[in-house]
Subunit: 206 residues, 2 copies
Amino acid sequence: MTTKQKIVEEALVLFSEKGYSDVYVSDIASAVGIKAPSLYKHFKNKQEIFDAILEELKTGYTEHTASLGIDGNNSATDAGIYTGLTEEAFIEMGKNLFLYFLHDKHMKLFRKLLTLEQFRNSELADLYSRQYFYDPLDYQSKLLGFLLAGGKFKKADPEIMALHFYTPIYALLTLCDRQPEREQEALEMIEAHIRQFNRIYAEDGK
Amino acid sequence: MTTKQKIVEEALVLFSEKGYSDVYVSDIASAVGIKAPSLYKHFKNKQEIFDAILEELKTGYTEHTASLGIDGNNSATDAGIYTGLTEEAFIEMGKNLFLYFLHDKHMKLFRKLLTLEQFRNSELADLYSRQYFYDPLDYQSKLLGFLLAGGKFKKADPEIMALHFYTPIYALLTLCDRQPEREQEALEMIEAHIRQFNRIYAEDGK
DNA sequence: GTCTATAAGAAGATAGAC
DNA sequence: GTCTATCTTCTTATAGAC
């Protein structure tokens, strides 16, 4: 890995914990293992390091969503997978999704960065909303729309159903970002949540 | 209002937008209408201003929760109110709760402050979790427990039911903190959410 | 590309007049 | 209690040697 890449990487770690202003150029340099002035051979100034992080965040997210087929192209095949799932497998899938969001290094760092900078940067506010509200809801609602069409659930608005499925996971995610020691408790709530979600949305009499 | 109170008030406004480090003592002084050195006649240093805000947050929240009866004493009477509600009134109540959280000046400022400082101060992390996760869920689950006992809903775990009721509202609240222009859209989602919540938790055949 | 030395300026805090 | 002037420290950034 080049020094330039290391700088971006270490800066992201620091910014995600303390926010832009409380991270000093010398902190980043230290983390990389060089002195602050050397850093200016790679970036014009501190802001340019932050911008490089943003670029990575944006391109990375675009690639990620494209691969997930959030544009809707893959939902049909995804639904094919889900319709055959048992409740236990469904729960395992929910937990795994939560754990991926929670522990994937770049996901976590970017999410915390967005949390800290959302009120001062409207571009980041928009990115946060898309990444942790609209896109997951879109994806889930398309998926649930297919399951609904397949008769797996009682008739309901798939968008609200997605809200009911996703927002508990979202709330627990932000809880664990803040207090990682609550992860076990969060996982137990997710399991109970999905079990009850399945039950209340199950067709009458099931 | 004393100058000291004005300082705390204006500092809160500024901290909630930009976070502790990006607000300068001179900014606070300006907002109050004095010069920075004058401010040191009222507070020993910048941190002491922040601490005064925290004190206000903590005492204010204690009083607020006590008045709401989050300790459980009032849930019975509250349930008495809710059992007689029509769906429309239930929706109106949900919207009003959301709007109160969203627009009440101190609620909003403190919430944004907690959001910005949660990763650097474990006391604030804990306060955030209590204030926007555990306490609302406790309150709602007690309330829903009474409604469940009254036969208004199908049998379910009231804690998870509270999760299903509250977390969509929480997610929309944080969305609107970030992007206030989405308030109308959020209100519409809350209405649709509560309608569907009532329907899926309704006893079979209702 | 990395270093030491240092400039330039910002921000917190104090001294002392009024 | 508020002000102007000032001190101190911290932080970004540059200069120039290696």
